[in-house]
């Protein structure tokens, strides 16, 4: 090793920052889903069906990943208007997802499955906490989308720098995949 | 007033130390980098050895003063406890040897290899052989400790022998409740929503036939010397812990999740009073899990007695059912409202 050693900096540092951050988020949900599994194996666990509206929400968020990916593609091609369009649609789909989730909570309450409070069962409480936390992360993603969207409007916008939208896109795909995992988990194991 | 004086004195001492330190910094600047470093090295090098020596003196003095106050000096009062003490000694010896060797080397090297104009350092960056040796030796020592330890662990946490008596212990803020199963040797069911602090402190379900002879006590429980006793632990509110110092055992008492622990006491309380020379000796139960502002005041007592004393004591205990429903108590004499000559016989404990 007497000669020069090249250092490889293949991934942009801020992308690395994001990836490791996503690892952190995974750990939080891992803690919650492990707790869920342990709790389920104990007594007093209510089995119930997930309301249909959660299925629809899943489809919506999958769609939003597609539009997100399109936004990145247009950004890389330098096509500003389609880029902004896809950003907007993705954000709208994100808000739609959050609304549908909320409706899911209401549906459960309507079926007499209390999420919190004296009559609640841990099964429902866990579902609520896990899904609600995921929803908060989606909200964060929506805010980031708006941020990138408004940045793209400013005169000083550097159209060649696609790093911000790539970062948001990675984050967005992550919350999508995370939801798929949680949804399958709650459906199958719950 | 004395507070202000004390603070003033401390501030004064600080100022003095500070000025001396500043002055010595000027002196060292004048003396030059090399010379002042040499002097500092000499002083600190000496202090390294001095600290080592004084340190071991301190260890000796501390041991002399306080070993006698530990439980080790007293000896364990249970079968399990004797194994614990044995393990404590073995661990002490193994870790003690390591402690002495490493601390001596540390402070001795620091002293011996202090900076010297004539010293040439030995550029020694690695040695796989050494690393393997001092990986293997600790690994072996630790394996010994693990084997020893796990044997005991499985013994302590395993099932008690047949014929063990069973007592249920419930912790609450801030005290202990004991339940004996009574003559039928089975505990009645309990449900926490039935708790009534006055008559049913653990929520016994009275409909259960096994409940009718359960005995409830607070503060003091009785066990028999030489007879294994299994404790079933629970809590009414927060997590507590049944700490049995003399028996070398403890176990958390968790609301909603029963835990168990068992032991065989070796000496009666009376015998321990003689053995320790302390007439106030008692097998105290200490709460060993933070449970609120009264955590330090949750004292319980285990009376270890021989079989006859225990039988006598048990015979005097009245099932809680009769305290909850005094009208059902056959030993109580009913009180006639207008008959003032009738004796009110309340059950004596």
């Amino acid at each position: 090793m007497a000669t020069e050693v090249k250092t490889k900096n293949k991934i942009h540092p801020q992308k690395m920052y994001l990836y490791v951050g996503l690892g952190s988020i995974v750990m939080m949900f891992a803690g919650l889903t492990s707790a869920y599994i342990v709790k389920k194996s104990q007594s007093n666990w209510l089995d119930f069906e997930l309301p249909k509206v959660f299925f629809i929400a899943t489809v919506v968020i999958l769609l939003s990943s597609f539009t997100m990916q399109m936004a990145v593609k247009k950004a890389k091609e330098g096509l500003q208007n389609p880029y902004r369009g896809f950003l907007t649609v993705t954000a709208i789909l994100g808000v739609a997802f959050m609304t549908l989730q909320y409706q899911g909570f209401m549906a459960l309450q309507a079926n007499n499955i209390a999420l919190t409070g004296a009559r609640s069962n841990s099964a429902a409480s866990f579902l609520f906490v896990i899904t609600f936390l995921h929803l908060l992360h989606v909200l964060g993603g929506v805010i980031a989308l708006f941020g990138v969207r408004f940045k793209s409007l400013s005169a000083k916008n550097n159209t060649e720098n696609t790093l911000p939208v790539e970062l948001v896109s990675t984050y967005w795909h992550f919350v999508d995949i995370l939801w798929i995992y949680l949804f399958v988990f709650l459906q199958w194991i719950g | 007033m004395s507070l202000i004086l004390s603070v003033a004195i401390i501030v004064f001492i600080f100022v003095v130390i500070f000025q001396i330190a500043k002055a010595s910094e000027y002196v060292s600047i004048l003396k030059g980098e090399e010379a002042s470093r040499q002097q500092n090295n000499k002083i600190n090098g000496f202090l390294m050895v001095a600290f080592l020596v004084l340190g071991f003196v301190g260890i000796y003095v501390c041991n002399k003063a306080y070993y006698g106050k530990t439980q080790l000096a007293q000896g364990a009062a249970s079968v399990q406890g004797e194994k614990v003490d044995e393990m404590l000694f073995v661990t002490l010896i193994i870790t003690g040897i390591v402690f002495v060797i490493t601390q001596v080397l540390l402070f001795w090297f620091a002293y011996k290899y202090q900076e010297d104009k004539n010293r040439k350092v030995f550029f020694f960056a690695h040695s796989t052989k050494l690393e393997l040796i001092w990986t293997a030796i600790p690994a072996i020592a630790l394996t010994v400790l693990v084997v020893f330890g796990l044997r005991n662990w499985f013994f302590f946490t395993g099932e008690p022998p047949k014929g063990a008596m069973v007592v249920e212990v419930t912790g609450k803020q801030f005290g202990w409740i004991f339940r004996y199963p009574g003559k039928d040797a089975v505990f009645g069911k309990k449900y926490y929503k039935n708790i009534d602090p006055a008559t049913n402190s653990v929520g016994i379900v009275w409909d259960d036939t096994y409940s009718k002879d359960d005995i409830l006590l607070e503060q003091t429980m009785y066990v028999v010397k030489g007879t294994p006793v299994k404790l079933i632990l629970g809590s009414r509110d927060v997590i507590h812990d049944v700490g049995l110092t003399h028996f070398r055992l403890k176990m958390d008492a968790v609301p909603g999740i029963p835990t168990t622990m068992w032991f065989t006491p070796l000496y009666t309380t009376k015998e321990m009073r003689e053995k320790t020379g302390n007439p106030n000796f008692a097998y105290e139960i200490s709460c060993d899990q933070m449970c609120g502002n009264g955590h330090y005041s949750m004292k319980g007592v285990i009376e270890v007695v021989d079989q006859e004393e225990y039988d006598l004591w048990m015979a005097k205990q009245k099932p809680q059912y009769f305290t909850a429903f005094p009208e059902k108590d056959p030993t109580a004499v009913p009180v006639a409202a207008a008959d003032t000559t009738a004796k009110v016989a309340t059950a004596k404990m």
Binding site: E4, Q14, K39 | L142
Partner: protein, 604 residues
């Protein structure tokens, strides 16, 4: 601005034209330079000073509760004037005692030894020692400090709440922490504690992510991973530990918030509270919280310990004028400790009634972690052997660290053996163990770092004589305080007890408690001396006049005496060797930037 700076780093070295004030693209105002700084060196100092403030507060708290333990029958009228209703009649009340003990633990473990230790040195050293101009994301770095600051304000505010701060022990076990009625300290104070901790977790994550990204992606040319100083490796593993374990604590705290305020039953079951009655919660498990808590809690102690270990390795090598012995073994043992740290958490739960087989697995893994720790100790000893030692205050604290780590680490072996832990759990033996191995040892690592890198931080030296006094009194004092505590533990004396007078089994240590309390106050006073030295020397300390006052090999000493934004005014230096060529081929030291000579013996 921030990601442009990162981009510049990513593309290699670009020279910026710099004036004295820093980056050519913006002028610093007081706010942007000292308050909302995005410069890693300034952020490091912010962490350090905030950490010091908490160290004083937390230390003061310990003086107060030791006052109760040392002098349980005395009354101090001045106490009542400071604490008011918490010290009626001049005696600390049980409520106040438990609040002090809880806050002391929380604040020292998290705010001082995590934020104050990692936050300071990771921020200060990583870009300087890997050869980067700043962190991967200076903006997130700034946020990481301000989240910590906000968490501090909220924790501070909890001290002034009517019902008092949280008082259930820093471990915050439910149901005590979940039930408003179980203790006054479990009311508003607990909600504030949780919010503060949640913000603290965010702060730690934002910082840790930066440390990892910067170390992996922004090293200068020639700085391969195995040429990194051990300080950086230690900080790297620390960040990985934090990034993976803090989120689990967060999940546990979220469930706790729900149990406290939304009637859920994650941790609660079968509860009857005095004066309130039976609660409706059924089916919860209080032990669940302990699993989630200790999944962070155990890595947390290594998050506290590893940076100290890394700095000690560095400082010992520099001041022995010898390479650190066994670089790869040191690296490997850091790695082993980091992995094992995730696998031993339940050794804090041996007496919760867990499955004995599970318990035995944790015994094995726990005693396993003693092996890499032992290797490190032997390597430090060998580093000293046949060296040429300079006793700078930094070096003294490094040596003190090793002594304390030996002492505290060995008692860990007692506790890790479950059958012994049954007896020693929740006794003063545990208190002695963790104070020596974590409290004092890591604190010594922190002091070593401060004394060693102060010249780089402020361009001045700390006063040497005060440093020596600080070291010797603190070392002796710490041992005088915590060594005898092992005996109290062996007597079965429980921890977190306000008073021992009603206990026939535990009241024999009145004299010792008084002794310990007295020494504790002296040791605390000496720390104040250190703080005076620190703040005085920032402004009036002896000025540093040479670039490399310790004659060290690492990159931070190739920057100007007072480095500005971007650290190096010209190009970032290129690295040709590992950092430990001290005493090689007869040379006293060979900096990392020195190219390898033709007739040099084999290098790393």
């Amino acid at each position: 601005m921030s990601h442009e700076a990162a981009l510049h780093n990513h593309e290699g070295h670009e020279s910026h034209g710099h004036d004295d004030h820093g980056h050519h693209e913006h002028h610093d105002t007081f706010l942007t330079k000292y308050v909302f700084s995005q410069d890693h060196k300034m952020i490091a100092k912010q962490f350090l000073i905030t950490g010091m403030v908490w160290a004083v507060l937390g230390g003061l708290m310990s003086v107060l509760f030791r006052l109760q333990l040392g002098y349980p029958d005395a009354s101090f009228p001045w106490l009542e004037s400071i604490l008011g209703k918490w010290a009626k009649g001049g005696q600390i009340t049980p409520e106040a005692y438990y609040a002090l003990v809880t806050t002391h633990g929380t604040v020292l473990v998290f705010f001082v030894l995590t934020a104050g230790l990692s936050g300071t040195f990771a921020n200060f050293l990583i870009p300087l020692q890997v050869g980067a101009r700043d962190m991967a994301s200076p903006f997130m770095n700034m946020l990481s400090y301000w989240f910590f600051f906000t968490a501090s304000i909220i924790m501070l505010s909890s001290l002034f709440v009517e019902t008092g701060p949280f008082s259930g022990g820093w471990t915050a076990y439910p149901p005590l922490s979940a039930l408003h009625d179980a203790s006054p300290g479990s009311k508003t104070g607990m909600d504030l504690w949780i919010i503060s901790m949640a913000l603290f977790v965010v702060s730690s994550l934002l910082g840790g992510l930066n440390y990892i990204a910067t170390i992996l992606n922004m090293r200068t040319k020639g700085m391969s991973m195995t040429r990194l100083p051990l300080t950086i490796w230690a900080l790297f593993f620390t960040a990985v530990l934090g990034v993976l374990s803090f989120p689990v604590l967060l999940s546990g705290l979220i469930l706790l918030i729900f149990d406290r305020n939304f009637g859920t039953s994650f941790y609660l079951s079968d509860i009857y509270v005095n004066g309130v009655g039976a609660l409706s919660n059924e089916g919860g498990s209080a032990i669940l919280f302990q699993h989630l808590f200790w999944f962070l809690g155990h890595p947390e102690v290594y998050i506290i310990l590893l940076p100290a270990m890394g700095m000690v390795s560095e400082i010992m090598s520099v001041n022995s004028r010898k390479p650190i012995f066994g670089y790869m073994a040191m690296l490997g043992s850091l790695f082993a400790i980091a992995i094992l740290a995730f696998l031993v958490w339940a050794h804090h739960m041996f007496v919760t009634g867990l499955n004995p087989f599970l318990g035995s697995v944790f015994v094995l893994l726990t005693l396993l972690i003693a092996v890499p720790s032992a290797i490190k100790v032997f390597n430090w000893l060998t580093t000293l052997w046949r060296g040429n030692i300079r006793f700078t205050p930094g070096m003294l604290f490094a040596i003190g660290f090793v002594s304390l780590f030996i002492s505290g680490g060995l008692t860990g072996i007692w506790l890790g053996n479950a059958a012994l832990d049954i007896y020693l759990h929740d006794s003063y033996f545990v208190v002695a163990h963790f104070h020596i191995v974590m409290g004092v040892a890591s604190m010594f690592g922190m002091f070593a770092g401060v004394y060693h890198w102060f010249p780089k931080m402020y361009g001045r030296y700390l006063n040497n004589s005060l440093g020596y006094i600080h070291f010797w009194i603190t070392l002796a004092g710490a041992y005088l305080i915590f060594w005898p505590m092992h005996y109290q533990g062996l007597a079965g004396m429980p921890r977190r007890y306000f008073d021992f007078s009603i206990w026939e089994s535990f009241k024999q240590f009145a004299d010792l408690n008084r002794f310990i309390s007295t020494v504790a106050m002296i040791v605390f006073a000496v720390q104040i001396l250190f703080l005076i030295n620190f703040f005085y020397s920032i402004f009036k300390g002896r000025k540093v006049t040479v670039l490399n006052p310790w004659e060290s090999n690492t990159l931070e000493w190739t920057t100007p005496i007072n480095p500005g934004h971007g650290n190096w005014p010209g190009e970032i230096p290129e690295v040709h060797r590992w950092p430990y060529d001290y005493g090689k081929d007869g040379h006293d030291f060979i900096p990392q930037t020195t190219p390898v000579g033709e007739d040099e013996t084999e290098t790393h």
